[in-house]
Point group: C2
Chain length 229, copies 2
Amino acid sequence: MEEQKYCYAYPHPAVTTDCVIFGFDGTKLKVLLIERGIDPYKGKWALPGGFLRMDESAEQGALRELKEETGLETAYIKQFHTFTEPKRDPRERVITIAYYALVRLQDVQGGDDAARAEWFALDDVPALAFDHDQILRIATRELRQQIHFEPVGFELLPKQFTIRELQSLYEAVLDVKFDRRNFYKKMQHLELLTQVVNDDPNVPKQPFFFEFNPKKYEELKHKGFRLEF
Amino acid sequence: MEEQKYCYAYPHPAVTTDCVIFGFDGTKLKVLLIERGIDPYKGKWALPGGFLRMDESAEQGALRELKEETGLETAYIKQFHTFTEPKRDPRERVITIAYYALVRLQDVQGGDDAARAEWFALDDVPALAFDHDQILRIATRELRQQIHFEPVGFELLPKQFTIRELQSLYEAVLDVKFDRRNFYKKMQHLELLTQVVNDDPNVPKQPFFFEFNPKKYEELKHKGFRLEF
DNA sequence: TCAAAAGTGTTCGCTATACACCCATGG
DNA sequence: CCATGGGTGTATAGCGAACACTTTTGA
């Protein structure tokens, strides 16, 4: 039997962070899953996650997980729910603080981990370990809700992108269709995007590339403007 | 020294639930605070909260807290954030899963607790124990955001209410002003409210009273309708 | 040269806003 | 009878949805 050296007057649950890592391949929203190497649920796919260290915040823990699996030092992450069902882990009571991360697929390296990691399209995800199906479902729901009114979609696209790519992203995430021309003009008049000037004669002039301008967004928001897709 | 009988191979943080209980008095949004009877922060005001039991979910814990302080068996509650800063409690590492609750002030009884409890207007809250200032600030922000697009405001009003009361609520929570007449008509045409018929000749015919119709709301939402205030 | 995609323009209908008016209530 | 607030009507502006047209690109 393992040595039990951390003792308390009252029972304490274990605490983990799980991280739903989303990426966009130009057509579909994808999520990064890990194949479990140990029991329970050995061989099953699961969300990246791990125990919270005593000297780190949950956000730091989530970023640590992210780094381990993608090599990324930083990314947009958001805490969206904490899962606490007493029996959600068969070994002992474990509560998990769940984050989702939005990453640019182009920037992602293979993880440090020996564990097998793979990107799955959202409608192609296998049955997951623990209650991770539920966690993923809620992550998706929360992302949809957030992306409706906050400019987080840009985190999934290259720094410079075309309006068409932006449209594809929103259509994929929100599962809707926009009129190409109206979407274009709306983005143009929003003043949130700055067009990239390109002098290189070897690269075509169209389509135009844009960058998101966070400062402008904060400015407008402060004036009562509310973004909506 | 206390007996330390719950032992683990790795250190575990303690886990609590805190509950930000909101009420509406017809003019202002209020929050229920507890005066701490023990150290740390003895004598300071704090959010109701307590340790999570090993056999209950966080939601059950939050409802238990709610019951203890208000006598209410049930209410709308929502988990909005989990606070994990390593030093947020000076005694040991404690993470807290925070909920907010929306209650009807008329229904609230005094709590079971010996502890002193009091309702404070939001812009009249004293400095709080632990990081509860931050928790309250974030709770308020999340409530504002939620009430924008979801019909949770009704949880703060009597079952039957006038349009004017509804307007006052939204003006107080969102800190805006609506045109009385436009607000009235908007609510009318929304089809979410059913007017209460009243035959009693002793009670005035105006103002009309309304009830929120959740079934109708679900129906409309399903058809792509989105509520907005 | 030609199809597909990118960029621009115009119209139309809905809805949010602003504001006028009349009725009910209670002193 | 009168002040206050509750309920209803109407005009206008602005924005989003629908759709026509021109230009650029790349095979």
